[in-house]
């Protein structure tokens, strides 16, 4: 996932947060490795369509059986680290484990939630505080044991009991009861509207994990109910999965084997796609798009991810607490232009905190929101800054994380401010320093920052953490402090918190719409773009799909990857 391969973990599940924040993990690394982005431009065009291939990807067709797809090699940006789904919290690890371990529910081709281990939809009772799920008959783990209600209970309780990095993902749950062998009841502490997304959480066999948690985490004893089983892992070299011969579900996997290899450097990754060392590569940087397109026997498979990148203002201290100043800065540059220059084709312009698929499925007033940002008009900037009484010698501080795209947005903003006659600096910080500073609310540290966010496909994931004003968010993930100096900001936060506790969808929708319109008009955030999950795929790989939420899909209801003749 372009945006997901970050260098650090988060307590908030990777699905919820990390993608966005950590997207620059790769870019940061590339910078460290010598600014790979810049000197790799235009690695030339490919002339020969035939790929005699590297030496490591020979297709092994099996005799008989439904497995006929051979071996698939996927180049990820980073190496997985650990494999216990109740513990892991980094994207490469989840990209591997998602093939091995399943949840009660999963996502359809898009962001809809459909049953996987569960039978039908959950029954919701007690004003949205009780969810009851029945497990499908015949669902088994790869060791042959049936998936039981006890396993589900254990999988949802263990992360909180063990205080793993995923604990906050599940801490709205009060109790989980195994009603009978195949029925589970979740009792929530409060009505939590997006709970259905929580029901996509992994289910692992209690007996196996309890026997040796260490071995479960290194993959040696990892067991799930998914279409693939864990074979071998060498940290930094590869992780290998094999088809689960006794997979309970349908369809059975076409592939015999999948190997995930980490290749950090983008040019190298693209090269391994061209010469056939790898069949699929993830994360194509903007400058490499033409190169990948020029490879005759490969194409790009992409879909916008569930992410949100933005510029945000310090509403706690300094001139940017004044909405006039924020509007002035909105006038100082053209976000459309910036996104088109620095982000496309690897991402798309976004006008609200909600990724397009969420905004569309909720029917949010996108056209209205699209009208809010101003185009560039430096005279307006000047007039508004003067009106707001910003001293002539004031220097605006923009901080950006180690990611080229977000840095470019920051530079564009500062150039606009300079054009209007004020000074501005852009500071590119390492993740450690950035994460410390952007939530300090300190004027001497920042007036403006650029960052990203990602999460589950629910509006809550993009509002509560970014604008909430409770102890879990203010100064923790919300670095704007919107509401410290304005009543409107306090109300926005209250509406977002109310929305997550409102089971009724229409009521929730109204709350999101009102609050979002206010914050966009108040220009707390200037929404910028969303990245795509992009993959370079050899033509002989059939039916590979990138996925907005789970990065990509190998074997599912709607696709089943196989490898044809190379």
């Amino acid at each position: 996932m372009p945006d997901e391969n970050k260098t650090f973990h988060s307590q908030l599940n990777r699905r919820r947060v990390l993608q966005g924040i950590g997207g620059a993990g790769i870019a940061g690394l590339a910078g460290c490795a010598g600014g790979s982005g810049d000197e790799t431009e235009g690695t030339g065009t490919s002339s020969g369509g035939d790929s005699s291939g590297g030496d490591s990807t020979e297709s092994e067709s099996t005799e008989g059986g439904q497995s006929s797809g051979g071996k698939l090699r996927i180049a990820l940006v980073k190496s997985p680290l650990e494999f216990d789904p109740l513990v892991l919290n980094d994207v490469p690890s989840s990209q591997v484990v998602d093939r091995v371990v399943e949840g009660l529910y999963t996502y359809d081709e898009n962001t809809g939630i459909v049953p996987l281990l569960a039978e039908g939809s959950p029954t919701v009772e007690n004003d949205g505080k009780r969810f009851t799920v029945t497990i499908k008959e015949g669902a088994t783990f790869s060791n042959g044991d049936p998936v039981t209600a006890e396993d589900v209970k254990y999988s949802y309780e263990a992360p909180v009991a063990e205080n793993t990095e995923n604990a906050s993902e599940l801490n709205m749950i009060d109790t989980v009861e195994a009603v009978d062998e195949r029925t589970v009841q979740f009792n929530l502490k409060y009505p939590y509207a997006p709970f259905k997304t929580t029901l996509t959480w992994y289910v692992v066999p209690k007996s196996v994990r309890e026997e040796d948690k260490e071995a479960f985490n290194t993959g040696n004893s990892l067991v799930g109910s998914g279409p693939f089983t864990f074979e071998e892992w060498q940290e930094g070299n590869f992780a290998r999965l094999a088809a689960n011969p006794d997979y309970w579900g349908d369809p059975k996997p076409n592939l015999d084997e999948i190997e995930f290899v980490p290749v950090e450097e983008a040019t190298t990754r693209v090269t391994t796609l061209k010469n056939g060392e790898n069949d699929i590569i993830e994360e194509i940087p903007p400058k490499q798009y033409p190169t990948v397109r020029s490879i005759q026997d490969a194409s790009i498979e992409e879909v916008p991810g569930i992410g949100y990148f933005y510029a945000a203002f310090n509403c706690n201290e300094g001139p940017t607490t004044d909405p006039k100043v924020r509007e002035a800065i909105d006038y100082a540059f053209d976000m459309d232009q910036a996104v088109s220059s620095y982000v496309e084709p690897t991402g798309v312009r976004q006008y609200s905190p909600y990724p397009l698929s969420i905004a569309e499925s909720w029917g949010f007033p996108l056209d209205e929101w699209k009208q809010i940002p101003h185009g560039k008009d430096v005279d307006q900037t000047k007039a508004l800054l003067e009106e707001a009484g910003v001293p002539d010698d004031y220097t605006f501080k923009v901080i950006v994380p180690p990611d080229d795209k977000r840095e470019q947005i920051g530079i564009t903003i500062s150039n606009g401010i300079k054009e209007a006659g004020w000074d501005a600096t852009v500071q590119r910080l390492d993740w450690g320093a950035f994460l410390d500073k952007y939530v300090s609310g300190d004027e001497s540290e920042y007036n403006i920052y650029t960052l990203g966010w990602s999460g589950t496909p629910d509006p809550d994931a993009f509002t509560y953490y970014l604008f909430g004003r409770d102890e879990n968010t203010l100064g923790v993930t919300n670095g704007t402090f919107y509401g410290n100096n304005s009543e409107a900001g306090k109300q926005v936060s209250e509406k977002f918190i109310e929305a997550r506790r409102t089971p009724e969808r229409e009521e929730r929708k109204a709350l999101y719409e009102e609050a979002t319109t206010t914050l966009l008009e108040d220009r707390v955030h200037l929404p910028a773009y969303n990245l795509k999950n992009s993959f370079g795929v050899k033509d002989y790989v059939e039916d590979f799909r990138s996925h907005p939420v789970s990065s990509f899909s190998i074997t599912s209801d709607y696709n089943n990857v196989s490898v044809g003749n190379k």
């Binding site: 924040i21 690394l29 690695t43 005699s52 205080n163 190298t268 391994t272 060392e277 450690g432």
Partner: protein, 332 residues
């Protein structure tokens, strides 16, 4: 017994150097802004969780306590546990160091095998076209960053020509069962060399260039000595002069440089390993720094320091083999 005594005394002398390396790295790592626990847990760790991790890794203790604890642990060869990987640092180093040493060995071999003949030819044909070419090559090598060379090699030999693989370095000690298309250990070694060629040139070019320049100038100096002139006057053939009279004497500066270049090459390994996705010490140190994995930064830096110290000691010792006038008992 002079040599043994000398070796021991040099090893003892290196202890303060290593302590110095540890101290400086320790203080610098501590001074880096940002919090490793926050990087590890992301933007929103619960206070409880963060505290638990700090306590687990001893990060809650004052600097001087941590420093002395660390020194004490190093003496017991315990480099602590990596925050990022969750395994002992020594285990990670044991996995990665052989890979980097393999890469260093091959790139130094490449550098020496090309630089010595180039330098000699250059000196013998001073100011002739061959000399000019070799000097331009050397200048290019010295002034080109290795990651650029690496990317260019990948683009030309992997992307365009598709002769060499760009990733997936196979180690010569890998079991044939794990290597596609290798029937026996020899097959593995052959594959390993095939994979190693581009990284070797990438990392070795800088060394090669530096060695060529020093070889040329020191050869020129020796060829200008009185005794060489005398040999010429006696009618000794030019080839024989170079081989028998000048060659050995010209190697001392080169040996010094080889020892010193070891650290430079380790720096180059960081870039080379990143470009070619080689799982060695270079990538380990990058991961450590990016994640502010304190223990891992300390451990890898310590190993780099040790490699350098050992390189310098070996350089000193090898003088004696080349130049019999050098002795170690201080009685020269």
């Amino acid at each position: 017994m002079g040599r043994l005594r000398y070796t021991i005394s040099r090893l003892l002398q290196s202890i303060p150097v290593i302590v110095g390396v540890i101290t400086i790295t320790f203080l610098l790592t501590d001074a880096i802004p940002g919090d490793p626990v926050q990087i590890m847990l992301g933007p929103s760790p619960s206070a409880q969780q963060a505290e638990a991790i700090r306590a687990k890794f001893g990060l809650d203790q004052p600097l001087h306590v941590r420093y002395f604890n660390y020194l004490f642990d190093v003496v017991r060869l315990d480099l602590g546990t990596s925050l990022y990987y969750g395994v002992p640092v020594t285990q990670k180093i044991a996995e990665r160091l052989p890979v980097t040493l393999y890469l260093l060995l091959s790139s130094f071999t490449f550098a020496l095998l090309t630089a010595v003949p180039l330098g000699i030819i250059s000196a013998k044909r001073r100011n002739k076209p061959t000399d000019h070419i070799s000097r331009v090559v050397a200048l290019f090598g010295v002034s080109t960053p290795s990651f650029w060379i690496g990317l260019m090699l990948i683009i030309v030999f992997s992307f365009w020509l598709d002769i060499f693989p760009a990733t997936n370095l196979i180690l010569p000690w890998e079991s044939p069962a794990n290597v596609d298309g290798a029937a026996n250990q020899l097959g593995v070694i052959a594959k390993s060399i095939h994979h190693l060629i581009l990284p070797t040139i990438t990392l070795g070019t800088l060394q090669m260039a530096a060695f060529t320049r020093i070889e040329r100038s020191s050869m020129l100096e020796v060829l200008g000595e009185e005794y060489v002139k005398l040999a010429r006057a006696y009618g000794v053939s030019e080839t024989k002069i170079v081989r028998k009279h000048a060659f050995r004497n010209a190697q001392l500066p080169l040996i010094t440089l080889v020892g010193l270049q070891l650290t430079g090459a380790l720096g180059g390994a960081v870039l080379t390993e990143t470009v070619f996705s080689i799982n060695g010490m270079g990538r380990l140190i990058i991961t450590a720094i990016q994640n502010q994995d304190f223990q891992l930064v300390m451990g890898t830096t310590l190993v780099f320091g040790l490699v350098f110290v050992i390189g310098v000691i070996l350089t000193d010792l090898s003088y004696a083999y080349v130049d019999p006038r050098v002795s170690f008992d201080g009685s020269e």
